[in-house]
């Protein structure tokens, strides 16, 4: 697809009519045409790589279909959804996913804001060092982060039991649902807070410094300045950061797969879909879980846009 896209785009860009300032609707028609020639290939790929799977998943989810027994494929309507929605495993996975999303996003917002404040205030030679350091967790792949945190806490390899106060030598973090989820959250938070803090840093830079100075002169304390001036001015960037991270956290898979494989009641929605499809080859059930996950993501978007009024134009970078 790229092979045809590149020369096509280049041809049109070379066409003098399209960029020259001429007059009237001729020009705007040519501009529209050029716009679609240039943006078209990327747009088509975006639509194909996600549009096809979701339509196919919707279709497959209506069948009882196991890859090992393709001859037994049978249309069963919405029964897969019935099976899933009446299974406690689904609700546990959904609850875990929601819990991980809420906890990690909340912690990351506060921690990310603190990191952004430090990056904003620190000057001189420390500034590039801090900004480089913050990129390390962002660059490290999630799987590596998952192994690092797993080894640090695991009963066989970990040093954490000796470090964390009140925890016995032989405490197994991964045998208990809540402590296993805690370690999963820690890895997730470590890896993704830098991204949030960079988005917030961009928001901080937009807060007019003379307003803050004025508040200072008027006798506002640092705490009041933060809540009355800085945060309201950053509302839009906070909302966008929040939406992005919430949607990302809701897809959590890598950390769970590496650390627990869903054991000890730590299953998440993505891990459940993976187990059904790839491990058990239950295409019908797996597709139904995938569709339900997609519906959850749509719901989060809907709530964010309608209830929290997240500015989509800003999210699109139109500012």
């Amino acid at each position: 697809m790229s092979a045809t896209a590149t020369p096509l785009g280049a041809d049109v860009a070379a066409d003098p009519r399209s960029t020259r300032r001429s007059r009237g609707s001729d020009k705007s028609r040519a501009e529209a045409k050029l716009g679609w020639y240039l943006a078209g290939p990327a747009f088509v790929i975006l639509v194909l790589v996600t549009g096809y799977p979701i339509v196919q998943a919707l279709y497959d989810s209506l069948f009882s279909y196991r890859l090992t027994a393709p001859a037994d494929r049978e249309f069963i309507g919405l029964r897969n959804y019935g099976v899933i929605l009446t299974d406690t495993l689904w609700w546990e996975a959904l609850a875990n996913t929601a819990l991980i999303t809420v906890v990690t996003v909340a912690v990351e917002l506060v921690l990310g804001f603190a990191l952004a404040m430090v990056m904003h205030k620190v000057l001189g030679w420390l500034r590039p060092i801090v900004r480089t350091a913050i990129l390390v967790p962002y660059a490290v792949i999630t799987v590596v982060s998952a192994y690092a945190w797993q080894y640090a806490f695991a009963l066989t390899t970990g040093f954490m039991n000796a470090v964390v106060p009140g925890v016995g030598e032989d405490f197994d973090w991964f045998a208990n649902k809540w402590t296993a989820l805690l370690v999963i959250c820690l890895s997730e938070i470590w890896k993704t807070t830098p991204f949030i803090s960079l988005l917030l840093l961009a928001g901080l830079a937009q807060v007019p410094s003379d307003t803050i100075e004025a508040a200072k002169v008027d006798g506002a304390t640092a705490w009041e300045r933060l809540w009355r001036v800085t945060l309201p001015n950053m509302k839009a960037s906070i909302m966008v950061a929040l939406l992005f991270r919430a949607l990302d956290a809701f897809r959590i898979f890598d950390n769970v797969y590496i650390m627990t494989q869903g054991a000890a009641g730590t299953q998440t929605v993505s891990a459940l879909a993976y187990n059904q499809t790839i491990s058990r080859l239950e295409i019908g059930l797996g597709s139904a879980v995938s569709v339900l996950l997609f519906v959850c993501v749509l719901a989060i978007c809907f709530i964010a846009i309608k209830v929290f009024k997240v500015d989509l134009a800003r999210a699109r970078g139109e500012g």
């Binding site: 590149t6 860009a13 943006a39 990327a42 979701i54 995938s290 500012g319």
Partner: protein, 280 residues
């Protein structure tokens, strides 16, 4: 920002130090794990008692190399090709978005946004099925195509944001001076746009390199399996030996290129990330 008192300054400096510690301790830990000998791996301490390179020789020359070396090759090829395709396509799209007025501009940006938040696992089930039917399962092209779904959206935004900041008037000025549109584009705009394109490529590469879901779902052998997927299928030298050492060493190796990129291009990556999602 006015004058800061010494005490206040010291506070921010301590904060900066904490950030550095926060960022590097887990990385240092996995690095330290990778230098532990087999007996040290279960010593439950941060550092090894004796430093050894045996885990590295294991994955480069020993029993782990059959899994690791092809995986490294697969990861490098897949991620570079996916990044290249995504950046070229996104460059044209971003040019159109930043520069032209055409109906459907917002549609392109909104679909990029929608694809970016689309649950990856929802793509996996149908692709797994389709790829098996048409022979793309366990092949490098079979990974590159879904990687475009990961890399294209962020490439489109990041570059659109960069391109909006380019003084396009200079192109017209060059044309007034007698250059053709194409010359003006190549001689004036390309040098201005290159840093943005380059930064976008780094960010897209990071995202492709980080993939795990497609890697473990759409590949099964060393023909196409990328490193993150290979990491999770390492086995110890015997059933009773955990592959901790091999995983740690391989984890360090996949971390080196991305951390180096982050260190060298820190300023650009920060600008790219903050421009792309929230206009600075």
């Amino acid at each position: 920002m006015g004058a800061m008192s010494t005490k206040e300054k010291a506070g921010w400096y301590v904060g900066a130090l904490l950030i550095v510690l926060y960022a590097i301790v887990p990385v240092v830990y996995i690095l330290s794990m990778s230098f532990k000998s087999e007996s040290d791996l279960s010593n439950r301490q941060f550092f090894p008692t004796t430093w050894t390179g045996e885990n590295y020789s294991g994955i480069f020359a020993g029993s782990g190399s059959e899994l690791f070396l092809p995986a490294l090759r697969n990861s490098i090829i897949t991620c570079l090709v996916a990044t290249l395709i995504a950046v070229v396509l996104a460059m044209f799209a971003a040019y159109a978005i930043a520069r032209l007025n055409f109906p459907g501009k917002r549609l392109v940006l909104t679909s990029a946004l929608a694809v970016a938040v689309f649950p990856v696992i929802t793509m996996v089930t149908p692709l797994f099925n389709l790829w098996r039917r048409i022979g793309l399962y366990d092949t490098i092209p079979g990974l590159i195509i879904p990687y475009l779904a990961l890399t294209l959206p962020i490439s489109i935004w990041t570059m659109s944001a960069f391109f909006r900041g380019i003084p396009w008037d200079m192109e017209q000025a060059a044309q007034v001076d007698g250059a053709t549109s194409w010359q003006a584009f190549r001689k004036v705009i390309v040098p201005l746009a290159a840093p943005g394109v380059f930064t976008t490529a780094i960010i897209a590469f990071f995202i492709a390199w980080n993939d795990f879901v497609f890697g473990i779902s759409l590949t099964s052998t060393s023909r196409a399996q990328p490193v993150p997927a290979a990491l999770s299928s390492f086995t110890g030298s015997s059933y009773f030996v955990q592959p901790t050492g091999a995983i740690s060493a391989a984890a360090v190796i996949v971390t080196i290129p991305v951390v180096l990129l982050a260190l060298v291009f820190q300023r650009r990556i920060v600008a790219g990330l903050t421009n792309g999602a929230v206009k600075g």
